[in-house]
């Protein structure tokens, strides 16, 4: 048991840092503007991240599995460890980093190390989704912003009542955002462990059946929730007050737009629904919630007349697309080498 926990620890650490950083994308403005108390935000966020992870987390994990199937626990540990180091290191350097991009890079590092070919189809699908997700988020934000603005201006709601409605709205879209984040990003945290999952399925009565993967995701979800509770407050205050300075209503639009993007890149149900009508569906790929948020903020800037768009921010997203997977692949390769040759672990 201790050995299992040790090997899962790198994934759990990655989960913790995901919770610490990404909860701010969902509740940052709401908490920093005092619309929602941190405690309320943290509880709602944690519950829905865990629900999203356990109920809808398998879709994106499947895509990561196609990219590279890591079948030994020690190997999975090392890959997750490699991407955790990348996330930590790049955060320290102040570069934008996403766990989605780090884990994909680390898996490619594993493929190179193990001599397995990387499935180029999956890779194109993933890269394409990364570029498309902030653009889609911006498009959603523009449409939502126009609709919300129209409603607010025409409904003549009293400022005080609008405030109460906005709070409720922020809490509801926050819950949706947390669910989508859990569903979309749990693969980053626990995806590499799926093939080597140490758990067995549990049957409770006739109705409840918890698969080994769901148990893994539950553990990952708890790790993310721990990150939310222990470390996200400071990040929320920074996101809310330093970088974007959104009003509560625009924050509502940003969270709804970016959460919808995370949701459509994670929902198997939506994919099946679209395919049943012969419509093109979205690939189930872990995308970066931070980049979806930046995309949504850009969308609002465009909807407001295109002023104050910082090209620097777009540049930073591009750096994130390129630098994170490359750095993560290299670190993953090096740590795998040490794991195999210095610590004599069976990783292949």
């Amino acid at each position: 048991m201790l050995k299992i926990l040790f090997f899962l620890s790198s994934g759990l650490f990655l989960g913790w840092s995901l919770g610490a950083n990404d909860a701010a994308n969902i509740f940052g403005t709401a908490v920093s503007t005092n619309m929602i108390r941190f405690k309320t935000a943290a509880i709602v966020c944690s519950i829905f991240i865990i629900l999203g992870a356990v109920i809808s987390g398998s879709g994106t994990s499947h895509t990561l599995g196609e990219l590279g199937s890591i079948n030994k626990l020690a190997g999975a540990f090392t890959v997750a460890f490699g991407s955790a180091i990348t996330v930590m290191w790049m955060t320290k350097l102040g570069l934008p980093v996403s766990t989605s991009q780090a884990i994909v890079g680390a898996i490619i590092g594993w493929n190179v190390f193990s001599g397995n070919p990387t499935d180029m189809n999956s890779l194109y699908k993933i890269f394409g989704s990364w570029i498309f997700s902030p653009i889609l988020s911006a498009a959603f934000a523009i449409i939502l912003f126009i609709i919300v603005k129209r409603i607010v201006e025409h409904s003549k709601i009293h400022l005080i009542r609008l405030d109460a409605l906005t709070r409720k709205g922020l809490l509801i879209v926050g819950a949706f955002g947390a669910y989508s984040l859990g569903a979309n990003n749990i693969a980053n945290v626990m995806g590499v462990f799926i093939n080597s999952s140490p758990f067995n399925s549990i049957q409770i009565g006739r109705v409840f059946h918890i698969t080994s993967i769901q148990q893994l995701f539950l553990l990952g979800g708890i790790a993310i929730a721990t990150g939310v509770f222990t470390y996200s407050k400071g990040v929320m205050m920074t996101v809310g007050s330093d970088i974007f300075k959104l009003s509560p209503i625009t924050a509502f639009v940003v969270v709804l737009a970016s959460s919808s993007v995370l949701f459509i890149f994670a929902s198997q149900t939506l994919k099946t629904f679209l395919e049943s009508f012969g419509l093109p569906s979205f690939p189930l790929v872990p995308v970066s919630s931070s980049q979806a948020v930046v995309g949504a903020v850009m969308g609002i800037c465009i909807a407001k007349g295109g002023k104050n768009i910082h090209l620097q921010v777009i540049g930073k997203i591009c750096i994130g697309w390129l630098a994170t997977p490359v750095v993560s692949a290299i670190i993953s390769y090096i740590t795998l080498f040490f794991m195999q040759n210095v610590f004599m672990q069976d990783i292949l």
Binding site: T33, N34, M35, V148, I160, D163, A164
Partner: protein
Amino acid sequence: MKKLFSSKTKELEVDIDRYLDRVEKSALLFNEGVKDYINDNMNRFDEHLKEITIIENKADNVRRDIKYKLYTFMLIPDSRGDVLGLIETTDNVIDTAKKVLEQLSIETPKIPDFLKADFLRLADFSCKAVEELVKGERAFFKEIKIVNDYINKIHFYEHEADKIEEQLERKVFKSKEITSFSRKMHIRYFVERIALLSDEAEEVSERLSVYAIKRFI
């Protein structure tokens, strides 16, 4: 908890409406009071003075209530500073309206007949500026798009009041009928005080225009 929260929201809405009603009423009472004084209708004047004093007291209580509720129940954290700023500066309008009637009652300046019409017009424009201010503030809470229309009207009435103020002062100091310099100064003081009401309304409107821009999403 939910019920408590929504009832506080409703209460605050009612309080703000009540406060603005009082501001409007104080302006109307001010206008009527000046008319009564000029027309030497002193019984009615005293009644209006009494009424405006009560209104001013009540408005103060509502203002304190609004402040208390905004901060205790953490309502509109994003714009409560602006709302309070608006309510606090609007309070100067009621204070000025009351003070003018009070000073008229204490000092009983004698207004010569040839100035009476101008005095009435000056009070009327000042009152209209406050009426438009109240409409503008109501729009700030409910229909932000039209706030500017009212701000333009406030500027117009303030400007008109300024013109009459200047004309009145020139008439006073050129007048052969008013012989003593001290009486000229005394009348000028009241001209300035009545015109001050429109100036106060304009000052609040300056804030209102900034807050309205901030509220545009």
